[in-house]
């Protein structure tokens, strides 16, 4: 055979294989959808005139619901066009399009920390009137079903509703219940610390239990000889969200980020104590913990390297799946540890990331866009949060009252235990800063917390630097306007009992 023919033959073969692979991917995608559960009762709207709704969100499994329920949208004359953006690039992409006024998107998925920026600058459509339209089965996203912190802090701004929740991101305690409940370990713990071994209630417990379980390769853990080093705890200590793991420790003191005059409270003695606790906990963590983001922290736990972590609520679902996890059936969940204040332990769980959907102010098909948002946020939400095909987490009462939907757990009792943990975490939920400038405030806090963790700054020095930078940011963005917005936020904090 001539060389040109060989090349031609190979090219054709590649093309055929490529198309085959593509087709099988399509087929797989179609097959990999959650089964409709028919728990939430909803109705189709009157048919739209073949409109295209442009949706934007972070790339990957959290945009899958638009593919799962493609048929529902097509039935009412809606075609969904998805734009995927990297996780870290969502804000910059959406903000740039908003500022340029391109009108590129009808429905935006974003992290609620930016609701102040997006709603405050008029980029989003207020949803209150759409929610009141009749019939309710078609238009009402049932806000009373959404857990209070999520609805009040992340979906509303300035008293109006601008977004609907799709992902109940909150941090929760996750620990190895097989280790905590092991009789041998319990006895050893009692002998060493003169108290019962149980899941950590306070951040002092966290240090103590973390230290207890940190062991070298060759030593014994629950009767087994360790083949590699084992660690008591781990943190999200990489730049990006390390600040949230600090706020978990600081928020129980009841000090908001700023006082009513926008004076930063982040360098208080309580905050310094909280940061010191986080630094101390690194002694019980893997040596590369300063490089741990979400993936690394999840893997360290579900691959059986670490006894306990504070993580997002989707991790126990993945941890229950034996194909992904080395500790399936061994995960216990609970409230994020707190501090004993006035004779009782006060817990706070940060709610970093989260996802909400909103309709853009310059959408040309607002009714259709709202129905798409409502359909994803409510009608099909139980299916979307109870599958391992997405990373979306429960955020509504309905999600908590239907443990049978969470098939990844070996039985309903385990699913119930998981859901109770998530519900408790959401009840302790504590928000990120969500007024305009959120990204700058968060970056300053994250940078200096990270410097303290890396030993570049002392805790007090780091938090003083944060306070200084926060003041500079406030002045730059306009102190008066920021103060007005912050005081509105404080009212929501107070209404939810997060501060006195």
């Amino acid at each position: 055979m001539k060389p040109t023919k060989v090349v031609f033959f190979l090219l054709v073969l590649l093309l055929v294989l490529g198309i085959g692979a593509g087709l099988s991917r399509e087929a797989r995608a179609a097959a990999a959808s959650p089964t409709p559960l028919d728990v939430i009762k909803w109705g189709y709207p009157p048919k739209f005139k073949n409109v295209t709704i442009n949706v934007v969100g972070d790339a990957g499994h959290n945009l899958k619901p638009y593919e799962f329920w493609k048929g529902d949208f097509e039935k009412v004359g809606i075609t969904i066009q998805i734009t995927e953006v990297p996780f870290e690039g969502v804000y910059e992409k959406e903000k740039t399009e908003f500022v340029a006024g391109t009108g590129a998107f009808d429905v935006v998925t974003f992290y609620p920390a930016y609701i102040g920026d997006f709603a405050g600058n008029g980029y989003l459509e207020p949803l209150d009137n759409y929610m009141k339209k009749q019939p309710a089965a078609v238009w009402d996203p049932n806000p009373t079903d959404v857990l209070a912190p999520f609805w009040e802090l992340y979906c509303k701004f300035g008293g109006k509703v601008y977004a609907l929740p799709i992902d109940g991101d909150v941090l929760m305690l996750q620990y190895r219940k097989d280790l905590i409940n092991n009789a041998e370990e319990k006895a050893a713990f009692k002998a060493k610390y003169k108290k019962e071994l149980k899941a950590p209630e306070t951040w002092q417990d966290w240090l103590q239990i973390g230290q207890f379980f940190t062991r070298k390769k060759g030593s014994k853990l629950a009767g087994q000889v360790l083949e590699r080093d084992f660690y008591g705890s781990a943190e999200f200590a990489k730049r990006g969200f390390s600040f949230a793991w600090f706020v978990n420790r600081w928020a129980p003191y009841g000090e908001p980020y700023f006082d009513k005059d926008m004076k930063p409270l982040v360098n208080s003695p309580n905050a310094v104590n909280a940061l010191q606790n986080m630094i101390d906990s690194l002694k019980n963590a893997p040596p590369d913990v300063l490089g741990y983001g979400y993936d690394e922290l999840r893997d360290a736990f579900i691959k059986g390297n670490v006894a306990m972590v504070v993580q997002w609520t989707d991790v126990p679902k993945k941890g229950a799946d034996p194909t992904q996890s080395a500790i399936a059936g061994k995960i216990g969940v609970g409230r994020v540890p707190g501090w004993e204040i006035g004779g009782k332990v006060v817990h706070r769980s940060m709610m970093p990331v989260g996802r909400v959907v909103a309709v853009t102010a310059d959408s040309k098909n607002k009714d259709a866009a709202f129905w798409v948002a409502k359909h994803i946020s409510y009608d099909r939400s139980l299916e979307d949060v109870s599958t391992t095909l997405t990373g979306l987490d429960p955020n509504r009462t309905t999600h908590f009252k239907n443990p049978q939907a969470y098939k990844m757990f070996p039985n309903v009792a385990e699913a119930e235990a998981y859901l109770k943990g998530v519900e408790a975490a959401l009840a302790d939920g504590y928000p990120e800063i969500f007024i305009p400038g959120a990204a700058q405030y968060a970056d300053s806090l994250d940078l200096h917390v990270n410097k303290a963790l890396a030993g570049q700054e002392k805790p007090k020095q780091a938090l003083d630097a944060v306070a200084k930078e926060w003041n500079e940011t406030t002045d730059k963005l306009g102190r008066q306007k920021q103060m007005e917005l912050w005081n509105k936020a404080l009212e929501a904090y107070k209404a939810l009992g997060l501060i006195k």
């Binding site: 804000y91 740039t96 990489k238 730049r239 300063l290 490089g291 305009p436 990270n450 890396a454 963005l477």
Partner: protein, 302 residues
């Protein structure tokens, strides 16, 4: 109609102007206009977070960068370390490899192609790759170290140890770009006349003398161009930082381009970002000027 000498000249060069005009217009549109716009922006305060209108602040942005922004200077220092040490190592190793390859005949083409694979990989892919390689618990690097030392040492927390993270980033850059300098030096070596080496051989020069007196001086112009290209690239190093460390731990790997990105696309402080970009432009122009002058002097000397 007046007959000024200027108009006369224009008329005579009508055809030349006609052909040059499209290029000039495109250059104005895509280079000169954005540059002037950005320069104007550098004297404004424009915070997109609040949607407040831009306002003129004269030299305030530059004053803040030069005298109050410690983070700017720290990220510039990180960048300079990467340029001085990173590009220095790339040059040394690249030149060594080029000298070795230059002695080979038949397998040279194959080896050069293999060496060039890292250069062809997108930095974003290299970033992902090294993030996995450097993983302390599950990464292949520490696994191999542990295997080689019989379990006595299991390597470092490469990207998590504040004392080592910058070296790990530098190594990634070295891995990716050394072949580029190797290629440039190899091309230079192949243009050196063999007669010069034959003459040196006749005069009884040692290989070391031949390298210092003939090879290196003749390669210098090529090497300077290579260093200049790599220095400018290193100044823009972003993808690997973004993927591997995110600028951490602390700020030990935060480069000037990463910090500029944060100011521009996370904080949306457009005036301040423009001023930062201009300060960087001045720094890189000074560096380029120093190298180009040095190259000129060398060429005059030769």
């Amino acid at each position: 109609m007046t007959n000024s000498p200027f108009l006369d000249r224009l008329r005579k060069r009508r055809t030349a102007i006609f052909f040059a005009l499209p290029a000039v217009i495109i250059l104005l549109a895509i280079t000169v206009f954005p540059l002037i716009y950005e320069l104007r922006l550098a004297f404004m305060s424009w915070e997109l977070t609040t949607n407040a209108p831009a306002r003129f602040v004269a030299f305030q942005n530059f004053g803040k960068i030069l005298f109050h922004d410690a983070r700017f200077w720290s990220s510039l220092r990180v960048t300079m370390v990467l340029i001085v040490f990173g590009v220095g190592i790339q040059l040394t190793v690249g030149t060594g490899l080029a000298l070795l390859l230059n002695r080979l005949r038949r397998p040279r083409t194959l080896l050069v192609s293999l060496f060039l694979i890292p250069v062809m990989i997108a930095p974003v892919v290299a970033g992902f790759q090294f993030r996995m390689i450097y993983h302390d618990q599950f990464g292949p690097l520490n696994y191999l170290i542990e295997l080689a030392t019989g379990g006595r040492w299991r390597g470092f927390a490469w990207i998590a140890n504040p004392k080592i993270a910058l070296i790990a980033i530098m190594f990634t850059d070295i891995w990716q770009w050394t072949p580029f300098l190797m290629l440039i030096v190899l091309a230079g070596l192949q243009s050196v006349s063999l007669e010069l080496y034959e003459a040196a051989d006749v005069d009884g020069a040692t290989p070391w003398q031949t390298f210092w007196r003939i090879t290196l001086p003749l390669l210098l112009p090529v090497i300077i161009i290579g260093i200049l290209i790599r220095a400018m690239d290193s100044f823009k190093l972003f993808d690997i930082i973004y993927l591997v460390t995110g600028g951490g731990p602390g700020n030990v790997t935060e480069t000037i381009s990463f910090y500029t990105y944060l100011q521009g696309f996370k904080f949306f402080s457009l005036g301040y970002t423009a001023a930062m970009a201009f300060v960087q432009l001045i720094v890189i122009t000074v560096i380029a000027k120093v190298f180009i002058n040095f190259q000129k002097r060398q060429q005059e000397g030769v």
